[in-house]
Symmetry: D2
């Protein structure tokens, strides 16, 4: 069996740390260079004390020469930096970008939401994405560049795409409100992200269509078959370190009842042990909790039909750092390398 | 100056405790009997250690004879119990029900959502409620029965009624998703309400139009001028003791822009020091946080117009136990007794 | 009745914000200038959205000319800055320093723990402090300078001083371990204070006798009658915004039993309504919780005698920002101004 | 390679759920019967939604006939129940009791602290326990009964035993104060364990030498070489779901300095990759955080010498459900079955 070597840039941050955590459990990967910017030169254990086996690794600077020579390079960098690094790494290296740079296909959307020049589009690392009748996983075999989706995007896309693809809801008036753990906001210290501010508080951010995940959601749901997709998207910070609970609603098409919706989602994903390995519809009567996905590469969903309001409500939970970032990255890596898709990934969460 | 005496039934619970906390700061009220069911006979301090001045009060049983003889009686009882008690108290006593029994005007809605016989409708204790051109406060002067609104209902009603009354949104496809603190679920011990389950987790409940606050929201927004109101309403539990963040959205009417919406909300509520004493539109660019309302009788709102999605987004924060329950109750009491509406109530929260 | 004017320096921080919150409820004080350093020029509401009545105040720069002309000036500044400001304010102004500069009597201790030159000692703002047979409150009447104690110091001093003064424990081998809310660490953004780091985690800091509150505790307990006081002091950060739970232990003197200890604490403080207005021994069988003191100027204590271990255990809870900082400051201000000590301060916490 | 079958009693509780989580990752064990009392007949997924692979397992009743026929039986039962079940299981089955029944060697201590008749002593499942010069792991090979230690006991024992064994501290005046996550209190619903009560609060329990873990700590530290061990032990509940931070102090023996203490702990445990596989002394200057151990079978320690107070301070973090319960159980199972001690267990935590 081949063993692949992987380097991780941004190793002192949350995305990089989570990639390292998961790679440590991957049977076919050996961890090579761990790099970062301002923390280069320090022990990894100072920044990631939970990565006990890697505690004494010294963080190297993030540059192409350090990252070169690995089979796989994961990038957990601020947006705008990955294109340059990737260009220096050569086409034989599998580069997996956990940042935003290469997710969008529309250069115009990129410029509108990020205000800079578009660095180009990479194959999109959401294997379960509906692309017409097929799935995005089919497009990932053998690729050398992967753009990992945004964490909110993963939750909302998984929640709504079955209904949109099946035509049981209208795609032109979607609403999603998310409860987000703080790790999604990154590790750079800012006043509003302090524990003293966040404990005991809930607050929205990026309201009114300005959040950078909006065009990415629309891109995905359009691929899933939606025409003229629009979505009102509001993330909110709530006092947890990890996790996303996405509550998404859409207007029901005429004549669609709860049984039909349930059938659509069962066909799309199946329950545990069936269909999608990492995306599961819960049994009727059971509502999802983010706690059930902590540390696991799973999404759990539940659906409800509100006949009076004429809306489908889909609630989806993921761990933003696993299925929402690092787990999705490794799942995509497996596909790109030709490994079984589930290798090294768990469906078992850490709860309570 | 007259001093009124008040009794509180359900004094060991969260609603009752909060009424007592606020009454302790009310200059015109003396606290009389404190009663409860299973904890009768014990010191109040065992159950409400924060109410230092009342710590040595002995809880009496909840019955009409104990509650009689006070000017005001607050009921913080399980639903279904207040009608009987109130009937025994006589029409000269001001009875304020923090429970659900008397909120709904439609007996049919009551039966559909609560499954029992309707106990009758009382004057509704949300002074800021739009009733056509007037406000509900005008209907509270001198009344002897008050039904305090549900906490979620207060947040969603305050958030949406200005837009609906002004016709800047369509009332027939509203969506609201709420982040709720655990005290809203009461003090009865249940497994899913344990700290071990709730810490680090977010989860929805009452999804799909089955929550009992739905008909009450529709009742309110209809009074505010909405026709054929429907709302998709999803509350979610997040790890905080108190607080509600309500994110509500509605389809914008043609030609409505951000300036028009802002003007509508400014006229409806004003900022601090203007208009409504307890409901404030935040300055542009500032998003609300539940922490700012902790312990205070305030609602803080912010609005955003999402042109691409064609939706208004209103985010509203309250303390579920204050503006959402006990503060609203005392504000209504002030109006019923002819006291200045703001007597004994604060706009200052406890943060961080 | 005289009304005093008060200015608050450091108004955008936690200590300054809490002083403002409490002054807002003080009947004899009008809030004058609010000042800060880097946030000068912005609305106070941006930084302290819970202070609704002051939201539109514009923050002024912290300098002597802005602060001059008030009867009282509260300083919530980084240590090292208050001495200079105070020198410019003149002796007719009551200056209350919430920082550390003037707490220690020993210049040597100051230099050892703070590494700079000592700025001099001010009257110490812990009214309940035992000073031999008298109380520190007697030393505060009419003073023009007050040094507010450290929050941890207040909790540990109140917990241990009765036992030490009565000789029921040995003062030379004290141990205190504290669970601390994050607001005690201030509002400056640092990685280890992020919500993502703090949620779901407990960690110690300042271990091994290096914390700057150690010499201050020893100073206090020596005044209370202890000889050769030594204390092992370990604060720990736990996931709450406010609150200190101090668990302090001391070796019991020979022949001391639980009844004797209880009697000592009852005499020292009394329960609610007796003795000390803000420091209360809980009834037997009831353990303190920080939640009961949130927003209140109270300390709640419980004592236990562990005969097998030969140790007294005293658990004390306070709100670090109220009794631990701003409440103590205002209580001391009342004494200095000749107002009733409890003016404008509450014993009622906000719970749950 | 032999595969062992394991049954888990108490599968709907926290200890049982965690045993199942870890067994799911164990390469040599197949999960057989999962049993419980009141939840028998329901899907395991209802109670443990994070155990995706086992979600459709139906919980069976806890009785000997259901548990029989497995190689290993884990008991996560209320104390007092394991002895009877174990008696029916026969001596060829490896029975691992996560409860308290068989931990204490002194029947007198049992009766004093638990108030019932002692069920007998089983081999003690703390492999790292110092037993004179040897380690408890040597006593676990081939045994058929194992008593898993209490979670607090594990943290305090690991923290103090090196110092006691080496004689660098006095064993007769130990003090330990713990910050405990709520899962340690179990899953039975009780008012004081509600999220509404626990969020934002810290409170002590079992104070004054009455906690049932006290005699077990003394038993361990005596085995480690302590004479006349006494300990003042205070656990406190803080707002986290999992984790224990134990701050333990002991009087230093004459002439012991920081270098000597550090050497003792390095020799006892080593850092990551050395010595003990699951117990690690952190590098100087790095303080432990419970977050680093979440989900992992590790203890992380740091030591400090407080010369002024004459005390050693040891801070130890574990995940109460892993190293404190289920992980320790599986580590002990490995030893009993002759498997490598670390099989199926991880040192990598889930953070942030």
């Amino acid at each position: 069996m081949t063993t692949y070597t992987a380097a991780v840039a941004g190793a002192s941050g949350y995305a990089g740390g989570e990639v390292l955590r998961l790679l440590g459990a991957h049977p076919d990967v050996t961890i090579g260079a761990v790099t970062a910017a301002s923390s280069a030169g320090s022990r990894l254990g100072e920044h990631q004390p939970h990565l006990v086996d890697l505690a004494d690794r010294v963080i190297q600077p993030t540059d192409a020469s350090t990252l070169a020579g690995h089979d796989v390079v994961f990038l957990g960098l601020p947006h705008g930096e990955s294109g340059r690094i990737a260009a220096e790494l050569g086409d034989d290296v599998l580069v997996i970008d956990c940042g935003a740079d290469h997710r969008l296909e529309s250069a115009e959307d990129w410029t509108t939401f990020y205000g800079s020049e578009h660095a180009g589009t990479w194959p999109y690392g959401l294997p379960e994405l509906f692309v017409g009748e097929s799935r995005q996983r089919d497009a990932l075999a053998g690729v050398k560049r992967i753009a990992v989706p945004g964490c909110n995007v993963t939750a909302v896309t998984l929640g709504l795409q079955p209904a949109i693809a099946a035509g049981v809801v209208a795609p032109d008036d979607l609403v999603a409100v998310l409860a987000n753990g703080f790790s999604g906001a990154g590790k750079a210290p800012k006043t509003h992200l302090l524990a003293s501010e966040g404990l005991g508080a809930a607050s929205p951010y990026g309201v009114g269509g300005v959040h950078r995940h909006v065009p990415e959601i629309i891109q995905n749901l359009t691929k899933a078959g939606g025409e003229d997709v629009t979505i009102s998207f509001t993330p909110t910070l709530v006092p947890m370190a990890r996790g996303i609970l996405a509550t998404a609603t859409a207007r029901l098409a005429d004549g669609v009842d709860a049984a039909r919706v349930r059938s659509v989602y069962e066909q799309a994903y199946g329950g545990p042990g069936e269909g999608e390995p990492f995306v599961h519809l819960l049994p009727e009567g059971q509502w999802p909790t983010t706690a059930a996905t902590l540390g696991a590469n799973t999404a759990q969903l539940q659906v409800a039909v509100d006949s009076a309001a004429g809306r489908l409500v889909v609630t989806t939970v993921i761990d933003n750092l696993v299925k929402g970032t690092a787990g999705g990255a490794i799942q995509s890596m497996n596909l790109a390398l030709g490994l079984p898709e589930t290798t090294g990934l768990t469906t078992t969460g850490v709860a309570p």
